[in-house]
Homo-oligomer: 337 residues x 2
């Protein structure tokens, strides 16, 4: 049967899967992503992937023909098939021609590479909750804030393939310092790290007499999961952290909606596990923050304070969304040919 290779290059591990057209993962394996201090060359990494793929294929009982390859990678350029200056990979000062190197090992098999969050958006479109939608956004919330934006049925790439960076829109010009060197990016508020910073902001500012699990944790020890667990148990301080995070997320989404007009926004990744803790207040604040053109109306044409765009959990949160996204990219490429 025909399958594609889906490859998700993550911060510490790279996942490889053989995926059929319906999104079934027939086999998968994991290999370490080279650390930025490892000195491994792009050629060396592709060779490592090639060996892992060969080992994976040898274990399959069914005969599979690989017809296309899709790769999701940090700072991946769809146009050039390169990984460009990725901070956590050994090629931070380089443009690594990953797709081109791949083609050497698998002659005749098309290889497409894109940013990891864009791959997640394709996965949502082909295998998830965005099936049939032409305009939507996937927000991936983990350590950072990634996003993939689909407009008119196509991923938004921009002139050099790096469009769709919603996490680095500035929502507070005098706000938190961001890893990108600027201030007030959405990511500094809405991400695992941002959530923790907000917990410390709340502790620094409010007069909380109730006990809170968060008070016992140092900055180094506290995780987003600690905050989510506390909130799930009704910890008022943790609930306020989610409320503030939702307020910032809604502001960022209102801006993204004004620019790209999506039908829905899907939340994917680690923070999505907090479910309604994040989604319920985000919906509430988005109803307040959305521009009236993007709100529903009653029969008489009066504006209702309810955003048209739905905020939903990704349907791939319990599946291997990033891998399915890479596979979706590979299948999409086959359709184009």
């Amino acid at each position: 049967m025909q399958v594609v290779l889906g490859i998700d290059i993550g911060g510490t591990t790279t996942k490889i899967g053989l995926v059929d057209k319906a999104g079934n993962i027939l086999g998968e394996t994991v290999t370490p992503t080279p650390a930025n201090t490892s000195g491994i060359s792009p050629e060396g990494f592709v060779l490592q992937l090639h060996d892992a793929i060969a080992a994976l294929r040898s274990k399959l009982t069914e005969v599979c023909e690989v017809v296309s390859t899709g790769i999701g990678a940090p700072n991946g350029s769809y146009y050039k098939g390169t990984i460009e200056y990725a901070a956590n990979l050994p090629w931070q000062h380089e443009v690594a021609p990953i797709a081109q190197l791949f083609e050497k090992y698998y002659p005749g098999i098309p290889v497409k590479l894109t940013n990891d969050a864009k791959a997640a958006a394709l996965g949502e479109m082909i295998y998830g909750g965005a099936r049939g939608m032409r305009d939507f956004i996937v927000v991936t919330l983990g350590t950072g804030f990634g996003s993939g934006i689909v407009c008119g049925g196509a991923l938004l790439y921009g002139s050099d393939s790096f469009a769709g960076e919603l996490g680095h829109t500035i929502i507070n010009p005098n706000g938190r310092h961001c890893g990108c060197g600027r201030r007030g990016c959405l990511e500094t508020y809405v991400s695992a790290t941002g959530l923790k910073q907000t917990a410390f902001e709340v502790m620094s500012a409010r007069y909380f007499t109730e006990p809170s699990a968060l008070k016992r944790l140092s900055f180094l020890d506290m995780t987003a999961k600690d905050i989510a667990d506390a909130a799930a148990q009704g910890d008022s301080m943790a609930l306020e952290v989610f409320d503030k995070t939702a307020q910032m997320l809604a502001l960022g989404l209102a801006n993204a909606i004004a620019i790209t007009g999506p039908e829905a926004i899907f939340i994917y990744g680690g923070l999505a596990k907090s479910g309604d803790l994040l989604l319920a207040p985000t919906r509430k604040y988005l109803n307040e923050a959305a521009l009236k053109n993007f709100c529903k109306r009653d029969e008489k044409g009066n504006i209702l304070r309810e955003a048209k765009a739905q905020v939903l959990l990704s349907e791939l949160n319990d599946k291997n969304g990033a891998l399915l996204g890479a596979a979706a990219l590979a299948w999409e490429e086959m359709e184009k040919r």
Copy 2:
């Protein structure tokens, strides 16, 4: 010869032109746009346009075959051909089926309608400085802030045709009150009205000992042109107004760049007449505000503090850009058929 009808429905007047494929306006006329208190129905307005068009055609010496019609209108929906709840038209609580009514008068001739700023972007793409570009933004600066965003060669419409509202992205959550009911929209800082408000902010805050033409003008009397004229003569207060305006514009553009990754941003409309007074500081601040993925790099891969996206004046500022935009929409529709 074959021509299209381009119609630009503005705040006070509606311009009508017969335009050939090369963008030559073979004939044009103007008719009043009905005021929101006029009580004129959509049918009545289309009849008024029909009569104006007939009069225009009767004056032409050359025989022209109208093959398509394009209309640029406030709150125009491309998908439905309607004008929806436009604040300055008599149908503020209605959805007016303008394209459909047009088709009754001109059977067999396709009619497309879109938002006025989106039409300007199409005009730039077909007749202006964006020829050959696939990703760019046109910002129309007049009383308000309009924008049309082209991604991958197509106008960005979103799920309901109202995407591309850059002027209503919030850049300062506690900022100025906006006509849309929210606070801190880009339009409240970057528009003729915003420029004036900034002049009063500067007068309220700074200790200016130098004389300034702005000090003599009341809020009702002052216009954006007064500020531009003063700045052109070196008035330090007026120059500071432009500097602050450019800073806010750059912040809004940096966000739009992060989301849509354009190759260039074109400035069109009344405020564009101030030329380098606005553009020079906007470029400077955009170089500071742009995310590093959207900055140039040197040969060694080091980031330069220079935005890749160019900030340019529209090439249609001296022409009838809005009318040419409506004509471009009509010609684009012909190409699709």
